[in-house]
Subunit: 137 residues, 2 copies
DNA sequence: AGTTTATAAGACTAAATAAGTCCTATAACC
DNA sequence: GGTTATAGGACTTATTTAGTCTTATAAACT
């Protein structure tokens, strides 16, 4: 229950990997092999992260991706939005949702939005760097 | 992203409904109709909640379910466990998981477990009653 | 110039999970 | 014994997620 998208998982793996390379580039193939992630899938993920300037891309031989931001500046919320869209714990929280059969007499929208906001806050205040710190259990 | 199971949603709806009935019973049909939830599905949900004594069941005519606990005593974590199993933000957190292809060199287990624990804590400390309070936004 | 390495991005398919249905049994009450 | 209601297993359908396939573009090296 409450699985986080594999894309996000793979995104974190890639960011953590790039962090170990400092300013050098790593190709999608290199990252994918090291973590045994499907290469074409990771490719999409890197592209998405590039489009929001979390990483930068270098074409051609010896090219690849490198970090464009400090891991401490990348919140889980940013990553989630980038790779898997907005957090909506319930369908009825989707913008423009008009499918709720109860409408005026709905008991669940508010509770779900309370929960949603709590999760958003958690994701907002947790950076990828914070996940790396291997203490909290 | 991060959708909560519909079962949990329906469970909350049912609990909130029962709370308005005080000590009277409400049948699955009554609750399902009021919230436009599929009756047979809600039936399973009520059974599960009965099995962990969140609600009690009364057979026969004029029977149904009633609350067996105060909403403040039912945490989201309890409800989640009851209706949708344990919270595991990543596959590799499943007990007995041996499918991780990286194993000894895995960079993601710890970060995911950090996140998982944060979400569990949030669910543990949030009661159904707390969701009902319609303030926080 | 041509080959190689690598990113960019769309369309498609497969696998997994979640949601919902169907059916039969059991219990209490009138 | 008929009616109302819970109990619970087996099954089907729908939706979402994961992954593949294909083609294009860019840079570097020879």
């Amino acid at each position: 229950m409450l699985r986080v998208n594999k894309k996000i998982e793979y995104g974190i793996i890639a960011l953590l990997y790039l962090a170990t390379k400092e300013d050098k580039t790593a190709s999608v193939r290199e990252i994918a092999n090291s973590a045994k992630i499907p290469e074409t899938l990771l490719s999409k993920i890197m592209q998405a992260m590039k489009n929001v300037s979390m990483v930068s891309a270098v074409y051609g031989n010896q090219g690849g991706y490198k970090l464009a931001k400090d891991l401490a500046e990348i919140s889980l919320l940013d990553l989630t939005h980038t790779l898997a869209g907005p957090i909506e714990v319930a369908e009825c929280l989707q913008p423009g949702n008009d499918g709720c059969p109860v409408k005026l007499n709905c008991s669940i929208v508010k509770p779900m939005s309370v929960l949603n906001n709590k999760i958003i806050e958690l994701f907002q205040t947790t950076s990828v760097e914070a996940l790396r710190e291997r203490k909290a259990l």
